[in-house]
Amino acid sequence: MLEPLNKLITSAGLTNLSYKDIIMILIACLFLYLAIKKQYEPYLLLPIAFGMLLVNLPLTNLMVSATQDASGGLLYYLYQGTELGIYPPLIFLCLGSTIDFGPLIANPITLLLGGAAQVGIFIAFFGALAFGMTPEEASSIGIIGGADGPTAIYLTSQLAEHLLPIVALAAYSYMALVPIIQPPIIRALTTESERKIKMEQLRPVSKLEKILFPIVTTIFVVLLVPSSAPLIGMLMLGNLVKESNVVPKITETLQSSFMFIVTILLGITVGAKANGDILLTAETLKVVVLGLIAFAGGTAGGVLAGKVMCKLSNGKINPMIGAAGVSAVPMAARIVQKEGVKTDPSNYLLMHAMGPNVAGVIGSAVAAGVLMSFFGN
C-alpha cells in the first residue's frame, strides 16, 4: 500500500522543486504582476512570464526535445518557430503593415539619424567583448540597443541561443522604460534653444512614393546586406500590403489577429527558455548593464547626429528627433514630441520624429544583418 503512495509522492512536482525553480517561479510571478498590474509591455511580458512559470514547474517536460521513442513537449515544438527564426520575421510582417513610412519619405535625410542611433549596438558589443564574452554573445547583447524586440530575438536565436530569454526580457524592459531612460539623455545633450527649434511642416507624400519605397528598399538593402532579408523582406512586404491597398483583408488580419497569434507564440516560447540554470547567473547582470549602455548609447548617438544635422542645416533640424532613431516605434517619437512641447508648448515634433523612428527599424534590421554576416553560419 505504501509503495504506490511513495511513487505518487516522488513523481509529484512538489517534491522535485529545487531552490532555483522556486526563485524562477517567484520571478515569473513578479513579471506577471508587472504585466497585469503595471501594464509594462503586457502583450509580450504576460506570455513570457507565463512560459517562464510553466517550464520552471518541475517534471512538466514541456521543453523536452523529441527522441526516436518519445515525442517532445508542447513548448519544445512551439519553440522551433523561435529557434529557426520564424516568429520574429512574422512579427516584422505585421509591424510593416502598421508602419507609415510617409514622414521618412518626406524627409529622407532622417534615414541617417536612424543609422546613427545604432551606434549603441556597437558600443555594447565592444563592452561585452571587454567583459570576456564571445563575439556572438556580444552581438546579441549589443542588439538590445536597437530597441527592437523581434530583431533582438531573431539575432540572439541565431547567434547565442542561451542568452535568448534574458536578451528578450532586457530588450522589452528597456523599451518599456523609454520614457524614463531617454528624456535625461536628450536634455543633457541639447541646449534649450536647440530643443525649441521648430521644424518646417513635412511635404505631402504621394501614394506612388509610398508603394515604391518598400519595393526599392527591399531590392537595395537585401542586395547590400543579404542576411537582413528575413527581417527587411517581411517588414517591407507588410508595408507594401498596406500601402498597395489591394488586399485590405490581409492588412486587417496582419494588424490584428495574426500579430497577436505570433506574439503569444513568441512570448511563451521565449519565456520557456528561461530556466534557473540560464537566468540565475552572473551573465544576466552583465546583459542587463550592457543592454542599458546599448540603449543609452543609441539615444545619445541619435541626438549627437541630430546636433550635427542641426548645424549643417543652419538650425532647421531639431536635434531631439535623433533620439527617436532607436526604433521603439512609436514610443521614442512620442518622447521627442513630449520633450518638444515641454520646452515650447507650440512645438509639435511627432511627425518629424516618426522619420528617424521608422528609419531606426530599418537601421536595426540592417545592423542585425551586418552582425549576422560577421558571425552567422
Binding site: 519619405i105 571587454a130 501614394k207 528598399t217
Partner: protein, 50 residues
C-alpha cells in the same frame, strides 16, 4: 571578471567601425535612392497628408 583580451578588443573596435560604416552605407544609399525617386516621381496628385 575583467579578463581583457586586447586582441579581441582590437578586433571588436575594427568590427565596430566596419559595422557602423556598413549601416551608414546602406542607409546613405537608401537616402540617395529616395532623392532620385522623389525627382523621378514627383507625384502629380498629392492628396495624402503625412
Amino acid at each position: 571578471m575583467f579578463n581583457v583580451d586586447y586582441a579581441a578588443l582590437e578586433k571588436g573596435l575594427e568590427l565596430m567601425g566596419v559595422g557602423m560604416l556598413g549601416i551608414f552605407t546602406v542607409l546613405f544609399i537608401l537616402y540617395l535612392i529616395s532623392i532620385v525617386l522623389i525627382k523621378l516621381f514627383p507625384g502629380k496628385e498629392r492628396k495624402d497628408i503625412v
